[in-house]
Each structure stands twice: as C-alpha cells, then as structure tokens.
C-alpha cells in the first residue's frame, strides 16, 4: 500500500472512531460545563448503550424465530437499526438522569471531591452490571445486514483502489453527524438549550431569571446520556464487539478529547473527538493497538501540563 493510501486509510478509520469518541466527549463536556463535575461513570453509560443495542439486535430476530439479524428481511433492517438506536438512547438518557438524581444531586453542596468519588463508585457499579449482563469476554456484535461490510469504492462504485471505505463507515457518519448538528441547534436555538448555556455560565444568575436549575441539570444529563447511547450503538456496529470494560478505553479517549477541546466547550469536544480518533488510529497502525491507550494517556498528560485549558480556549464553565 502506498504511503498516502495508508494515510487516507488511517484518517478514515480515525474519523469513524473519532465520531464515536466525540459523541461520548460531548457528554463529559456538557456535564462539566454545567456542574463542574468529571462524570467518571460516563464511559460506562456508553458501554451499557452498546449492551442495550446488542440485546435489541439479537432479541428482535429471535422473536421472529431467526438466529441472527442478517436473516431478517432487508426492508426491516433500517427499522431494527432505528429501534436499537432509540432504545439505547432512551435507556442511557434515563440511566444518566437517574445517576445524577441519586448520586450527584444530593452532593451538590458538598466539597467537590465528594461527587467525584461518587462518580467513581457509580462507574464500578455500571461496569459490574455490564459484566453480569454479558460476561467477561468481548461479545460479538453481529452485523445487521451483510451489505454493511461492502466496500463502497470497489463493491458499490466499481473503482479499484487500495482504500477501504465500507457502508459501515458511511453509516457511522450518517448517524453521528445529524446528532451533533441537532445538539448544536438545540443549545443555540431553543429556549431550554439557551437556559442550559445560561446555567453553565452562572447558575445563580440563571436561577434569578426563573430558570429551574434542577430541571436544567437533569436535562443536561439526559442529553449527554442519549448521545452516549447513540455512540454505544454505533461503536458496537462499527467495531462488531461489546465488552463490559470498553467504557474505560472509550471513556479515556472521550475524556481526553473533551480536555483537548477545552472541557466545557461543545465545539471543542467535537473537534477533540475527531483528533483523538485519528491519533488512536495512527498509533494502532504505526505502533501497535496495545500502545494506543498509553499514547492517549500520554497526550492527556501533555495537554494538562502544557495547555490545561485545551487547544480551543479556556476551560471556564461558561464556554458552552
């Protein structure tokens, strides 16, 4: 493979995983922006999103007496995909809201270390739920349809190239990009979205304007959870695996992405996600996948030491 084909290939893989990372990073950044808490459990909410999706994707075909989703009639596949997406988004949104209500809200006036420890505790609980639910080894996340592995250039367009760009790659973008645009529209255009930004900038002043703070914080967790749920489905679909510990790696990448973009900064989380995706793909390819976590961790440390406010600007909570 020529070097530029390799480079393009890395970019393509990185961009797909980057989109997933960005969706998770948005949850870190939204929550940090509004209550200045690093929600350590967030990566595990994402993991449970993959588990929920996997359950739907295997359970629905079994209801129809089939062994796998790929045996379902083709016209039902988009519906299955949509059902899995909605179930995962709603499940994770409700889960994230419940976490806030039970584990963080009672500690809102406590010293800052308390909710942080609470978050680590929640993370352990979620990891163990994942472990009991789907077991200790990675589980295969089946392709919903054989066509998702088709290569767009060779198999669909008939162009001969060394670069792989599968239908799956395209699907990742088709799912992730509209969600990010929707989030952006929500926070810039809607009344509740603006209330979220106002609360992130100055909670007390927001309360003085009649904004219901508890409701707004709950809404923030709902949105972050929904995006993590979507990322969970996309990740399962793209990487064909579901694993109880994937939230650690996914969470680490996404957290680094959020810090890279300036935590609290929505646009930064998006850019940081794509960048980390590409860095991880480069490391997977040039070094070894086993080094990737160390590379990303190293990057996180470098950012925190040399540019703690992120590449895109201050880490003030008002950067919504």
């Amino acid at each position: 493979m020529s070097w530029y084909a390799t480079a393009i290939q890395i970019l393509l893989i990185g961009r797909a995983n980057g989109a997933i990372i960005a969706l998770v990073a948005l949850g870190y950044t939204l929550v940090y922006g509004i209550i200045e808490l690093i929600n350590f459990a967030h990566g595990d909410v994402f993991m449970l999103g993959t588990m929920i999706s996997l359950t739907i994707v295997t359970w629905v075909p079994s209801l129809m007496g089939l062994r796998r989703a790929s045996q379902m009639p083709t016209e039902l596949i988009p519906i299955l995909l949509l059902v899995a997406l909605l179930a995962s988004m709603i499940g994770c949104a409700l889960l994230n809201m419940a976490i806030e209500r039970l584990a963080y809200r009672p500690l809102r006036r406590a010293p800052r270390l308390a909710p942080l420890i609470s978050a680590i505790g929640v993370s352990f609980i979620l990891v163990n739920i994942g472990l009991h639910w789907k077991g200790a080894s990675p589980v295969d996340f089946p392709n919903m349809h054989p066509s998702v592995s088709l290569d767009i250039f060779r198999d669909v367009l008939g162009i001969n190239t060394q670069i792989f760009f599968t239908v799956k790659d395209l699907l990742v973008m088709l799912l992730a990009v509209p969600l990010m645009l929707a989030l952006n529209l929500f926070v810039t255009r809607t009344r509740l979205g603006k209330a979220m930004r106002a609360t992130a900038q100055d909670r007390e002043a927001a309360a003085m304007m009649g904004i219901n703070i508890n409701q707004t914080i709950a809404l923030t967790f709902l949105l972050g959870g929904a995006l993590a749920g979507a990322a969970g489905l996309i990740s399962g679909m793209y990487n064909n695996s579901a694993w109880f510990f994937q939230g650690f790696r996914g969470g680490l990448m996404a957290f680094t992405a959020a810090v890279l973009g300036g935590i609290g900064n929505i646009y930064g989380a998006f850019m940081g996600g794509l960048l980390i995706g590409v860095v991880a793909a480069t490391s997977d390819f040039l070094l070894d996948p086993r080094w990737t976590q160390a590379v990303v961790f190293g990057m996180l440390i470098l950012i925190l030491v040399f540019r703690p406010t992120g590449l895109l600007g201050e880490s003030t909570p008002e950067r919504a």
Partner: protein, 237 residues
Amino acid sequence: MATLDVQNVHTYYGNIHALRSVSLTVQDGEIVTLIGSNGAGKSTTLRTISGILQPREGRILLDGQPINRLAAHEIVERGVCQVPEGRRIFSRMTILENLEMGAFARKDRAAIQDDLARVFDLFPRLKERIGQKGGTLSGGEQQMLAIGRAMMAQPKVLLLDEPSMGLAPILVETIFQTVQEINRQGVTVLLVEQNALMALQVADRGYVLETGAIVLDDSAANLRENETVQKAYLGIE
C-alpha cells in the same frame, strides 16, 4: 397589605449568622432603599428574598402569600426579579439571548416582543448591539443589560443590588433616572445601595442595615436629615 413583607428573617452562611431578625416592607408602587456599609447584609437580604438562600427563621410574604419556602425560579414566576450585585449577565450569550433569558419564566409568549421593544426604548444602546456578546459590553452597558434582562421577566417587584457600582457619575445619574422611570411604569422597587445620597433622593422610604440588623427606618426625606445617617453614609460631618 404590603406587596413585599419580610418578617423577622434570620439567614445563615453555615454557622455565620448573616441576617438577625430583618423585617422590612415594601408597599405597592414604592421605591424603598436598603442602605448599609460593606458586609452589612444587604445582598444577603435580597438573595434571601429571591430564594437563592433559605431563611432559617422568619417569613417572607408576597401579597400576603408566603414565598420563603419556594425555589428561586418559582419566586420569579410569582413576579419578583433581581438585578444581582456585579450584574452577572451571561457573558457568552448575546444581548438578545440575555434578554430572552429574562423572559424565561413567562407564559405569555406574545407580549414578550412588546417588552423587548420597551427595554430597547429604555436603553437604545442595547438595541444597537443586539447581537454582541454580553461579556464584550462596557460596565455601564452591562448594567443596562442586567436591568433590561430583569425587566423582561415583567416583575411586580424589582430587586436591585447596587446598580451604581463602578459606574461614572453621569451614568449613575442615568441609571437612577431609569429606575424611577421603571417605577413610574408601575413596578415596585427595592433598591440596595452604597451610594446612599442618590438612593435617598429617588426612594420614598429607606432602611439602614448594620451587621445583619435593621437599625433605622424612616421616610427618605427624614433619613437624609438624620445625623447618624449623614455621618455614616452621606459623608457629612
């Protein structure tokens, strides 16, 4: 019945006893001022009325109904809105967005446009800069925005915490004129000030707060003539 009736309110920060049995009333249509030196508890009083702080003892009534157990946003819904100390506008939101946030609690969407026009009448400068981020405004413009934002809530009672702080004398004059204009439009005003001279000129009545307790209350005219007030707050020997 008083519009706002604060009865024997005690407020604490942890175990710091910040308000010691504060009582004050504001009648419909009045401008009442609360003066006192740094740390007297003026902001604490307003923050307690707004529901940011909960009084440990005492009651706060709005038109006879207790509001001291309500959440801050519910108090705004009942018609009490505050212009906080230090303005605290949303610095990364535009002027228009800041004003929209002021109207957040309102249900009458249609009337909001009219009130937006009213705010721009009061402060034409805000209209010229409608798309500008709040944080890039000058101190005076930020104060105008903070007042305009509170007016968007269409309050029955407006609480103002040191609106003249850090402004040039000419602008202080303008701000006080605006407060009077807002009052003429039917809004009841509770005005916290360190600038006692100006405050006692626009107010009908006043209260003097010292280390968390009310030590004097009288008509503004009488307070202006009061010797202790003159010495402590008006700089007259």
